[in-house]
Amino acid sequence: MKAAKGITSRAHPLWLAYILHRLSGLALAVFLPLHFWVLAMAVTDPERLDGFLRLTESGVVKLAEFGLVFLLTVHMFGGLRLMALEWLPWSASQKTLAVGATTASFLIAVLFFMRAI
């Protein structure tokens, strides 16, 4: 039997937006140092960088890249949404905004993915 204590009904748009924002932020924080490290190879070891960049051709890495861009856009739009919600005099349409932001970010990500292929 489910414990009554844990909130089981978090599934409303704003909470989902929050969790998406946090997880994407955390993921970005993990990815960014990696990204920097790879780029820094440009000085130390251009061959390896090229080798790494070649990997992007493969599907798996492509998918990972897609994921990262998705994270970045999701996080960014989520963040902008938050700031709009907090700083712009508030309107009741924030939920639509939240959904809109996620959709927009998704579209951009898809656009990126399509063109990359």
């Binding site: 039997m1 489910k2 414990a3 009554a4 204590k5 844990g6 909130i7 089981t8 009904s9 978090r10 409303h12 748009p13 704003l14 909470w15 929050y18 969790i19 924002h21 946090r22 938050l82 919600l85 907090e86 700083w87 005099p89 508030w90």
Partner: protein
């Protein structure tokens, strides 16, 4: 009602969230969650502890977790929450449990006071009552938060409260926002200070569970956003001067 017996699971004890007990409760017409809990105490297990007072949604003392959702139990019809014929009832989240379904609400009220949720007036009983134009934006804004019954449902719904012991929580911050918009209140500086400190409005992540579950359809999330806006504004102003 089509059902005649409800399967009611209740979390017991101060320490054992795991200690669940099930009861068969006869179903009646017009039964609220509070009625179900009362039936158990009055007929099946006289040791069951819970709290209520007004029984009509005015005092905010009867909130519990019902199937994982914080609710005012005296105004929640049982049919609204039944899962088949079953329901699980536990003590309100984010507050220390005294026993069974009764929680200690002191932290909630301590924070209310900490958020400067108290009138800072300059006038006295010897002054006439100040005229107030109810149509101003400030007054309309203040009025939107005024019917809070301090039931702590929002406080229980908020994950940030769970995660951060210092967080003042939605209701207390909403009260601060109401006062900030109240033309009669003279405590602007101390309110802004109180909500900018540890556990203040900036702790909130706008996850909106407070607004989603407030039984009175209040909107603490927007009130907190208002505080963020106001504190940001005064941040820039202070920076400039």
């Amino acid at each position: 009602m089509a059902l005649d017996v409800l399967k009611v699971t209740i979390e017991r004890g101060p320490d054992a969230a795991a200690a669940q007990q099930s009861f068969d409760v006869p179903a009646y017409e017009n039964q609220t969650v509070l009625d179900v809990v009362s039936w158990v105490q009055q007929n099946a297990d006289p040791t069951l502890s819970y709290r209520f007072a007004c029984r009509v949604g005015m005092c905010g003392s009867c909130a519990m977790m019902v199937n994982g959702v914080p609710r005012w139990t005296c105004r929640t019809h049982i049919s609204k929450v039944l899962d088949g014929n079953a329901v699980t009832i536990g003590p309100l989240r984010n507050l220390p449990v005294i026993k069974d379904l009764a929680v200690d609400m002191d932290p909630f009220f301590d924070k209310w006071v900490e958020a400067e949720g108290v009138h800072h007036g300059a006038l006295t009983r010897d002054d006439p009552i100040a005229p107030v134009d109810e149509t101003t934006v400030e007054r309309t804004t203040a009025n939107t938060g005024i019917e809070c019954i301090n039931c702590s449902v929002c406080y229980a719904a908020c994950d940030t409260v769970t995660a951060n012991k210092d967080y003042l929580g939605p209701a207390a911050l909403q009260r601060a926002w109401t006062l900030l918009n109240d033309a009669k209140d003279e405590g602007r500086a101390s309110i802004l200070d109180a909500v900018s400190g540890k556990g203040g409005c900036h702790t909130c992540h706008s996850m909106g569970s407070c607004t989603a579950y407030c039984p009175n359809d209040l909107d603490p999330m927007s009130a907190i956003a208002g505080l963020k806006r106001e504190t940001a504004r005064s941040f820039f102003r202070r920076g400039r001067s």
